[in-house]
């Protein structure tokens, strides 16, 4: 590798990544270390929020619930409606569509258990608590926890009992209204009023059972992990001394990897085996609807106040460091969104939190030129126009396709 071009520091204003002009495919020790960190691990850390999440009975129940539209108020929408297996458990529409339309794109859930925060804005701190909200969101499944708990106890009694043993009887409509959930507003406010008629003890029964359903769904989702991709095999070959990378990447992809690690500065955020730092950034992508999306600015206080967070009575986790140390006032949370994984990224178009970019070419062009500016807050300051050549742009897109392994089976 050639020495640093020191003058570039003055031009770029202290960019933290500098350009090296050596041929793509010849990797320094530092780059090889980085390649190692991007490779899939031998094993993934356990989901500490869901201690029974590896049990077959929970996984089995969770898989049933994930694809059951009966959990929705119109019997037509399931988790799988938006998290489509054929699209790597994401969706092809820019914005998620259930009973209505949400304001964000459906992210892939492959590998999603690996991280402290869930949703684009991190408003949940466990995969199981994340799984609860869509069931009640008016634009998604529009259900309510009382009828959902009753429905599962009725329609999936055997699987439920196998997972959790004895199931409480919630059929008494004088104690458990036909439909009820807390915090419902607008034309669903009547469900909140119904919830308020319930005794605290009965509310606790429902919330406990509801949380169990979330943990079953999370157990199933935790089985959806990325498989080895050409990139991983390339890294193995390089690290074992094969300078050709075993032929697992094309020359164009190697060029793209070179840009990804160097000139493109992509690993500042897309780092680790899932190519995400699991943090929140404002990349300045334009809003696709009137107004602005506060992103993590609104997500942080929500998770701190959630009864289903790590400190809640339904949590089985003793240590909640991520929640305890969270600073909701962090300035750069404004319109910041979680860095998505790039595994299978060529299967998950469209892109960004609002699905505003249709192709990977569009995404790379965006980071190359950085058009526009955020409606509020400011773009991550480390982002600068890259000045990529057409060959480099197409190389990065080609490289990204090397992150796709065998399809993840439902």
């Amino acid at each position: 590798m050639r020495p640093l071009i020191v003058g570039l520091v003055l031009i770029t204003g202290c960019a933290s990544e500098l350009v090296d002009t050596s041929p793509p495919g010849e990797w320094t020790a530092s780059e090889r270390s980085k390649l190692q960190r991007l490779r899939l691990p031998e094993a993934w850390p356990a989901d500490l929020s869901n201690p029974r999440g590896t049990e077959d009975a929970l996984i089995g129940l969770g898989g049933i619930l994930f694809f059951d539209p009966g959990l929705s108020s119109n019997d037509q929408v399931s988790c799988g409606t938006c998290h489509k297996p054929e699209h790597n458990f994401s969706d092809v529409t820019p914005l998620s569509r259930g009973l209505g339309e949400t304001n964000r794109h459906t992210p892939s859930i492959v590998g999603s258990q690996q991280g402290p925060w869930f949703y684009w804005d991190g408003r949940a701190d466990s995969l199981w608590s994340q799984a609860l909200s869509p069931m009640e969101h008016p634009a998604e499944m529009a259900g309510d926890r009382v009828s959902i708990v009753r429905y599962v106890a009725t329609h999936h009694a055997e699987s439920l009992e196998r997972a959790y043993g004895e199931v409480p009887d919630v059929t008494d409509l004088t104690r458990f209204p036909e439909r009820a959930r807390p915090a419902a507003t607008g034309d669903q406010a009547w469900m909140a009023r119904a919830w308020d008629t319930m005794s605290p003890a009965d509310q606790l029964i429902i919330n406990t059972e509801f949380a169990k359903l979330g943990k079953a769904i999370a157990a199933y989702e935790s089985t959806l992990m990325p498989t080895e991709a050409p990139f991983d095999r390339y890294v193995d070959a390089v690290l074992s001394g094969d300078s050709t990378g075993g032929g697992h990447l094309t020359d164009e992809q190697v060029l793209g990897l070179d840009v990804f690690l160097g000139k493109g500065q992509c690993t500042l955020c897309h780092n680790g085996p899932l190519f995400t730092d699991r943090a929140f950034h404002n990349n300045g992508v334009a809003e696709s609807r009137p107004g602005y999306d506060p992103g993590r600015r609104s997500g942080a206080p929500i998770v701190l106040g959630s009864p289903f967070n790590c400190r809640g009575v339904f949590s089985e986790q003793e240590q909640c460091d991520e929640l305890d140390y969270l600073d909701p006032s962090f300035d750069d949370f404004q319109s910041a969104f979680k860095t998505p994984s790039l595994r299978y990224v060529d299967q998950t178009a469209p892109y960004f939190h609002n699905g505003s970019h249709e192709t990977l070419d569009d995404v790379v062009a965006f980071y190359d030129t950085l058009p526009g500016s955020p409606a509020v807050g400011h773009r991550e300051l480390t982002l600068k126009p890259l000045g990529l050549t057409a060959t480099e742009r197409s190389g990065v897109v080609a490289f990204l396709s090397s992150l796709t392994g065998e399809p993840v089976q439902p």
């Binding site: 590798m1 050639r2 020495p3 640093l4 020191v6 520091v9 204003g13 202290c14 933290s16 990544e17 500098l18 350009v19 090296d20 002009t21 050596s22 010849e26 990797w27 320094t28 530092s30 780059e31 270390s33 980085k34 960190r37 402290p116 070179d258 690690l261 160097g262 690993t267 500042l268 955020c269 780092n271 680790g272 730092d277 699991r278 943090a279 929140f280 950034h281 460091d321 991520e322 305890d324 140390y325 969270l326 600073d327 962090f330 300035d331 750069d332 949370f333 400011h378 991550e380 300051l381 480390t382």
Partner: protein, 145 residues
């Protein structure tokens, strides 16, 4: 291709008044800005993982090399040329405390939990000491990979 940046280049990017580290080893013992104290810094775990919580630990001595156990030490980290700090609210650990609430830091070791580096690149780690010989500070640069 991405070789490690020389420390001198980092210095141009930071706003702290102190000199950059003269050694390649992050956190090596150094004098504070006015030469009042000797400070070294370590992370646990080392190296910290990307976006993982970790503890920062400063060891404080007087200029003669004797540990100072009853000072107040504040540790923080920022990315000055990115314009932000950490996404967390780190907590200075109290040390060993008596029933009357008097706390000391045996061996001059002061811990701050809840550090998190959520981006790759150079982080400026600032240590501010309020001790028997007054207030002084020192900064270090850590290149998060």
């Amino acid at each position: 291709m991405r070789p490690l940046l020389p420390v001198l280049l980092f210095a141009a990017c930071t706003s702290g008044p102190t000199e950059p580290e003269s050694a390649d080893v992050f956190g090596a013992e150094r004098e504070t800005q006015s030469g009042t104290y000797l400070v070294s810094v370590a992370f646990d775990p080392d190296p910290p993982g990307m976006s993982d919580l970790f503890t920062a630990r400063a060891t404080l001595k007087d200029s003669a090399g004797v540990p100072i156990e009853d000072a107040t030490v504040s540790l923080n980290a920022t990315m000055p040329h990115h314009g932000h700090g950490m996404m967390t609210s780190p907590r200075d650990e109290p040390g060993v405390c008596d029933d009357d609430g008097t706390c000391t830091h045996p061996g001059g070791v002061y811990e701050t939990s809840g550090f998190k580096f959520h981006m790759g690149g150079p982080w400026t780690v600032a240590v501010i000491v309020t001790g028997p010989n007054g207030v002084d500070d020192v900064t270090y640069i850590y290149d998060m990979q």
